[in-house]
């Protein structure tokens, strides 16, 4: 394999690796704008210039590839390529390029939402000149809407064309193009074809500067005020890896997190803006019990006691409804509580969308159907239609959440059962049919593992704290089960994972530590 020397260090790289890739993979910074690992290389920004020994001019490192050189032509008898990123000429050229890029730039970082995570800001600070020699009037253009969610500030655009390539290569919808030439060029859309595909939000992420902005986040906060929590999107069964940006228990935005086994670099807008629907809900934070006049608040002790009493009285007539919206741990504890007699509600689906780049938005809107089926092996789909209901006297239901609407069949069934426990975070359609409602966690409060539809187990981490007296979703069935069976309860979610591993071999080696940021594939035993 070729050996490349970058500055003073030698690296052995695959043949055909670009100098920029080789450098980035080894934590050597070469400033760059137009290069994005998911997109075609165009070499247009000229920011990534390096000096390559034997070449008369500086080369763009994103488009210069390391190849095998015949042994008699090797430099110093050893290297296939010798690169300098710190050469004086390189440094001067970086200064010049930045000066060009900033000619018409408004330098309005104080009002720019990208400030703090802006490549232009960072590189200008690190590699640029501290002053500008441009004395003429700057070119000023008004902001424009490219689609319903994306605004462009033309003045900040550096015409790297990442956004254009994204719509061509990733979403395949080709809405964006560069209009006009030279000094007059700008990013544009056709009026009859605005940027309104379901991946549009990604262009704001890949724009290296603050030119493309999401209307959802614009002027809302500053990036350094927000805490970033790596987590998993819970809006479909693909399970895109995301970063949740939040402040004071309020979520402000979601951005995709790189995971080459799942979503690569992107996420869809359903997931990106999906968190808003949990903002306005009236959160259920205390246990509620049905009495003559309707629901009244009660304490946890009483609620659990009552549930255990009913459970004891029901004898063999107990069943549970697992939820593909809940973690493996919650479903596992539910399965234990009802002796594996588990069903589900009908699935919530939408159309599956496949993009030319391979990006997929699943038709199954629930994040953990695979995992639920793994840890509740004898599960009955659409329970109400499938099961003779007169022998069930106690039903423990994990609620899917606010997106769930109940059909008449289900309502009728729930009415007939003597005692229905619903674990939910809001007064949903389902909670209203309960005899007792136990407050669990809302989606961004949950912690545990979820398994996506390709069988990859991922760590769902909580981004906001659990509200009020609500308890972790796995803990509530655990408390009831341990009290019912008279055994000692489990103390934390890791011990639940441990127990789960004992029962289901596929999950036996799963720990948070091993899952890390990227998750693990199931070892295949669960499918047997």
């Amino acid at each position: 394999m070729p050996i490349v020397k970058i500055d003073d260090t030698d690296f052995t790289v695959e043949k055909g690796t670009s100098v920029l890739q080789a450098a980035l993979a080894n934590d050597i910074e070469i400033p760059h704008y137009c290069y994005h690992p998911a997109l075609e290389i165009v070499g247009s920004c000229r920011m990534c210039l390096v000096k390559v020994e034997g070449m008369p001019k500086l080369q763009v490192s994103c488009n210069t590839f390391v190849g095998d050189v015949p042994s008699d032509k090797k430099i110093d008898g050893k290297y296939d390529m010798v690169v300098s990123t710190q050469d004086e000429l390189v440094q001067q050229e970086q200064k010049n390029m930045l000066e060009f890029l900033l000619l018409n730039h408004p330098l309005d970082c104080p009002v720019c939402d990208q400030a703090g995570e802006c490549d232009l800001q960072d590189y200008a600070f690190k590699y640029g000149n501290a002053h500008s020699r441009f004395e003429e009037d700057k070119r000023v253009r008004p902001n424009e809407y490219l689609g319903s969610q994306i605004v462009i500030n033309h003045n900040r655009c550096i015409l790297c064309s990442r956004c254009v390539r994204f719509t061509r290569e990733i979403s395949g919808s080709s809405e964006l193009f560069v209009e006009a030439r030279g000094y007059n060029s700008k990013i544009s859309v056709l009026e009859e074809k605005p940027l309104d595909n379901l991946l549009a939000g990604n262009v704001a992420d890949i724009c290296p500067v603050g030119a493309l902005l999401s209307t959802d986040y614009i002027h809302k906060n500053r990036i350094w005020n927000l805490d970033k929590q790596p987590s998993i999107c819970q809006d479909c069964s693909v399970g895109c890896n995301v970063d949740v940006f939040h402040q004071k228990d309020q979520i402000l935005r979601l951005t995709p997190r790189e995971n080459h086994s799942v979503n690569k670099f992107f996420m869809c807008d359903k997931g990106r803006y999906g968190f808003h629907r949990f903002e306005e809900i009236e959160r259920l934070t205390v246990p509620m019990i049905m009495s003559e006049g309707g629901f009244i608040e009660t304490t946890w002790d009483e609620a659990i006691e009552k549930t255990v009493d009913e459970l004891n009285g029901a004898g063999k007539g107990i069943a549970g409804i697992a939820s593909p919206f809940h973690t493996n741990e919650a479903n596992f504890m539910l399965g234990r509580l009802v002796n594996g007699n588990v069903g589900t509600l009908p699935p919530i689906t939408s159309e599956e969308i496949n993009y030319p780049s391979g990006f997929r938005i699943s038709g199954d809107r629930s994040p953990n159907r695979h995992g639920m089926n793994d840890v509740c092996p004898s599960i009955v789909d659409d329970f109400a239609s499938a099961v003779e209901r007169k022998d069930i006297r106690f039903l423990y239901l994990l609620d899917d959440g606010i997106d769930r609407e109940l059909n008449e069949l289900w309502k009728g069934m729930l009415e007939k059962i003597d005692f229905v426990v619903v674990q939910s975070y809001a007064m949903t359609d389902v909670s209203k049919c309960a005899d007792i409602v136990l407050p669990g966690q809302a989606p961004f409060e949950r912690e545990g593992t979820i398994t996506n539809d390709m069988g990859r187990v991922q760590w769902l981490r909580p981004s906001v704290t659990t509200k009020g007296e609500s308890r972790p979703d796995w803990e509530i069935p655990m408390l009831i089960q341990s009290k019912h069976a008279g055994v000692e309860g489990l103390t934390d979610v890791s011990s639940v994972m441990n127990e789960m591993g004992k029962d289901f071999a596929a999950y036996s080696d799963i720990t948070f530590f091993r899952l890390g940021d990227q998750g693990l594939p199931l070892n295949g035993k669960a499918e047997e």
Binding site: C109, P110, V111, A115, I218, H219, K220, N221, R222, W224, N225
Partner: protein, 178 residues
């Protein structure tokens, strides 16, 4: 190694105490005829020099628009973490897109270091010469946007304390202005 310090043995003159008394009185007498530097506060107000770091204000443009663009540089620079800003889109079509919807300063935490005015790219926040803004409750020492703009009106033209009726105004400032 021990050092032996000899104690001072007062002489006869020292023990008389009269020369010391005379010396002390001489100082008193000297000051007796000098110009008085005591100020009869609060009847008379001390006028701080330019650059004094007192109560904050939020500046406006001559046309009345707020200079601040809610960039939160000041709150990032603030070592006491006492500036709280909620930004939003600006209500004006003047090219400045951002605007502070809320701008609160917790004066109890502020250490009047002036980092906020140094950090501000818009020259929007400034510390004024006002120093006597004590109050009876903690809540009244949380100053909001309206309060800060009010301080601007009070201080924009002249030094707050060199105005003719400075004494009366400061009463108004401490109670309802914040």
């Amino acid at each position: 190694m021990a050092t032996i310090v000899k104690s001072y043995e007062p002489t006869f003159w020292d023990r008389l105490y009269l020369p010391a008394l005379a010396k002390g009185l001489a100082v008193t007498l000297k000051h007796f005829f000098r110009k008085k530097i005591t100020i009869q506060y609060p009847d008379e107000k001390y006028v701080p020099p330019d650059g004094y770091r007192g109560l904050h204000r939020l500046n406006k443009y001559p046309d009345g628009k707020i200079r601040c663009v809610a960039c939160e540089m000041c709150s990032a620079a603030c070592p006491a973490d006492c500036i709280h800003i909620i930004p939003g889109p600006s209500p004006w079509e003047d090219g400045k897109e951002r605007f502070p919807v809320r701008f609160d300063i917790d004066l109890l935490r502020c250490i009047f270091c002036g980092f906020c005015e140094m950090a501000c790219p818009e020259e929007a926040i400034e510390l004024t010469e006002i120093y006597d803004f004590s109050n009876y409750t903690r809540d009244d020492l949380l100053i909001d946007k309206e309060g800060l703009l009010g301080v601007y009106e009070l201080t924009k033209d002249t030094n707050y304390y060199s105005r003719p009726n400075a004494g009366q105004d400061s009463e108004a400032l401490t109670s309802d202005k914040f």
